[in-house]
Amino acid sequence: MTNKDKDDILRHTISVLVDNESGVLARVIGLFSGRGYNIESLTVAETDHVENLSKITIVTTGTRQVIEQIKAQLDRLVPVRRVVDLTIDGPSVEREMALVKVAGEGEHRVEALRIADIFRARVIDSSNSSFVFEVFGKAGKVDAFIKLMEPLGLVDVSRTGVVAISRGATGL
């Protein structure tokens, strides 16, 4: 490993299975802010209602050493059951959803619908002068869609953040 590789900033998607008890998300977020780690995106929801487990998906950036530290520090939290680095622990898929509000009239409306069709985005609300699209895909695709909507009257965006899962038959 050369020095240059050592200092390269990498982007990793980390999946964290936690006991869904009060304060658990605050512990995870506090760890990132307290130790100066980056969060690009973070999603959380309960995924096992019987055992009360939640899954947190975090997209973070840092040098290789920092990414290793992030995983070790996460694993050290008492309510954390498992930490998996989806970027290096085998292939994985990731998706994001965005709700994109575009306001405009005339040709802009038509163009927005045309582009939405290309991105397989659906209209989930419409008024005389606006649409709300839902668009799914990798974060990059969502970015691209939003960018194309900008000149067509982009008003507001809500994004879920990235969720990810490993490919193949085994679970976390």
Binding site: V18, D19, S22, G23, A26, R27, G30, L31, G34, Q65, E68, Q69, A72, Q73, D75, R76, L77, V78, P79, V80, R81
Partner: protein, 593 residues
């Protein structure tokens, strides 16, 4: 296992007794009245009433570090709870097992800015190993057992349990834990056993080493007496030199010839040079703290590094190592010794001899030497007299310190043969730690000689506990190495800030002898070297808590010193060296921390 219906207060008392707790340090308040009422009605669980909650935590730390057991703290909501924060961070940094029970306003008032309400689980989330807010009295017993388990196991640390007043009054089910106090935890499972392949790899590295060095830390002491015995055994067996961190002192006998002294910013010349020049570094239970490594890019550049630690996040945090072994020190060392013996392994004797010769050369610099005076008391001399006269009492002696110059001199000049005899605030550097900590040590060891080494600055941060020492007849001997300065601040100002002593002169000092007398304690003073022995003996002979004001050379500096941001081999040995040295730390050369 049996279950029983009890009130929350009764559950707490029963759970603590079931955990083997015999004493706690605390201070009552409004929301805790039901619990203090229950405490009043029972025997077997002692409560030491402190004067300030921060001192309760430090006392529990002293208790924990000198016994190896979990220390227990009990404080009320709001200010009682927030006053524990410094102590909790201190325990977190130095891996001290504590359980801190805080009262909370009734559940129905939480979030309403009620009187003496503070979100203490929120405040302490980052400075406890784990914390809990109890929401159902039926969970209380389980949470308390879990708290002790989490505090004690793995890398030890503080755990806080916040208990609303209504939970204390409610009735719930308590389940007695099984024979073992171990808790089957759903997610918390520290790794104890080391990976065999890595252990074997480490052994290969050690046996082929030419200039090997043991770098032992507080993790050895935390792992227990067995770990310290195994460590000493392995060091003796291999013949390899051994240095210890500030937290590790006592893990290996301080008088042994294989001991090079403490390493780090104020470590010995031979220990730091050996750290720099070694070819195989065996870090056991230490965390490559910045006070040990100095400049990271110049840290031990030619060595292969083995790192044994129970905390995976310690591995590769500051220094990237070659052979990481995650596990409990005692377990890993047991395995290592087993394989070492089975392989009939040996370090290359000829190379080792050369290495020892080099070390002897460094040692001959006698880096802890100081210029004795017959007019003014040198702090190093005072410590040597305290050490020797303590030894003469024949009593088991425990030392605690505050933070600053006196702490470093104590680490250098006291000699620790056994673990758990040295309590000092390493990671956080908490002034005000030592005096209350000594109180906790004396509670745990009523017949031992407990000596607190203090500076005139830090003593004043928790001196109110003199009253507690008096009321429980705890004969702690507190030696104030009084130089009328915040000494370490003054030393840095002298060396790195043009001798501008900004706010480091303590001119408003009380008369410490009269202060002691005001509390009914014994106050003594020594101003010349000739008075020293008599005063120390008088202190050791007294059954009273004693404050000894030792007037020391005000401008003495701690040497050796590796200036912040320098490498081990850029160590400054003494005042002359400091004036000549390029690395003598211009402020511009980087950020001094």
């Amino acid at each position: 296992m049996s279950t029983k219906e009890m009130t929350g207060s009764e559950i707490i008392i029963q759970a603590l007794k079931d955990q083997g707790v015999d004493v706690m340090f605390g201070l009552p308040g409004g929301v805790l009245l039901p619990l203090y009422d229950a405490l009043f009605k029972q025997n077997g669980l002692r409560h030491i009433l402190v004067k300030h909650e921060q001192a309760a935590v430090h006392a529990a730390e002293g208790y924990a570090r000198s016994t190896g057991e979990v220390g227990t703290v009990l404080v009320t909501s709001g200010p009682g709870a927030t006053n524990t924060v410094t102590g909790l961070v201190d325990a977190m940094m130095d891996s001290v097992p504590l359980v801190c029970l805080t009262g909370q306003v009734p559940s129905s008032l939480i979030g309403n800015d009620a009187f003496q309400e503070a979100d203490i689980t929120g405040i302490t989330r980052g400075c406890t190993k784990h914390n809990y807010l109890v929401k159902d009295v039926n969970d209380l017993g389980r949470i308390l057992h879990e708290a002790y388990y989490v505090a004690r196991t793995g890398r030890p640390g503080p755990v806080l349990v916040d208990i609303p007043k209504d939970i204390l009054l409610a009735t719930g089910t308590y389940t007695t834990p099984g024979k073992t106090t171990a808790v089957e935890h759903k997610s918390y499972k520290p790794q104890v056993k080391g990976d065999t392949a890595s252990i074997k790899q480490a052994i290969e590295l050690i046996r082929n080493a030419k200039r090997p060095l043991f770098y032992g830390g507080g993790g050895i002491v935390n792992s227990g007496d067995a770990a310290c015995t195994l460590f000493s055994q392995f060091v003796k067996m291999t013949g390899i030199p051994c240095s210890l961190t500030l937290m590790g002192l006592g893990a290996f006998p301080g008088s042994d010839n294989q001991f090079l002294g403490m390493m780090g910013m104020h470590g010995t010349y031979e220990a730091n040079m050996a750290m720099h020049d070694c070819d195989v570094m065996i870090n056991i239970g230490a965390r490559f703290d910045d006070r040990v490594t100095g400049a990271l890019d110049k840290f031990s550049p030619d060595s292969k590094k083995i790192h044994i630690d129970i905390d995976p996040s310690s591995i590769n945090k500051n220094v990237v190592v070659d052979v990481p072994i995650i596990g409990d020190v005692a377990h890993v060392l047991e395995e290592m010794i087993k394989y070492w013996k089975a392989d009939q392994a040996q370090v290359n004797a000829k190379e080792l001899e050369k290495w020892w010769k080099q070390i002897a050369d460094w040692r001959s610099k006698d880096s802890l030497k100081y210029i004795q005076s017959n007019k003014v008391i040198k702090p190093q001399y005072a410590l040597e007299r305290i050490r020797d006269l303590a030894l003469e009492t024949g009593k088991d002696t425990f030392y605690t310190t505050e933070v600053g110059q006196h702490q470093m001199w104590a680490a250098q000049h006291l000699c620790f043969e056994k673990p758990k005899r040295w309590m000092t605030s390493g990671g956080l550097g908490t002034m005000g730690y030592g005096f209350p900590s000594a109180m906790g040590v004396q509670v745990a060891h009523p017949d031992a000689l407990v000596v607190a080494i203090a500076g005139d600055g830090s003593f004043q941060m928790n001196l109110q506990e003199l009253a507690t020492l008096m009321s429980y007849r705890l004969p702690v001997k507190c030696f104030i190495l009084n130089n009328m300065f915040l000494g370490m601040v003054r030393q840095w100002q002298e060396m790195f800030h043009g001798e501008r002593y900004s706010e480091s002169v303590i001119e408003d000092q009380p008369d410490f002898v009269k202060l002691a007398e005001a509390y009914g304690a014994l106050g003594l003073r020594a101003t010349t070297p000739g008075e020293l022995d008599g005063v120390i003996k008088q202190a050791f002979d007294s059954h009273l808590p004693t404050i000894i004001d030792i007037r020391t050379d005000p401008e003495e500096n701690v040497f050796p010193m590796i200036p912040s941001g320098a490498a081990h081999n850029e160590i400054i040995l003494g005042p002359e060296d400091s004036k000549n040295s390029e690395s003598g730390g211009s402020v511009e050369s980087g950020v001094l921390v």
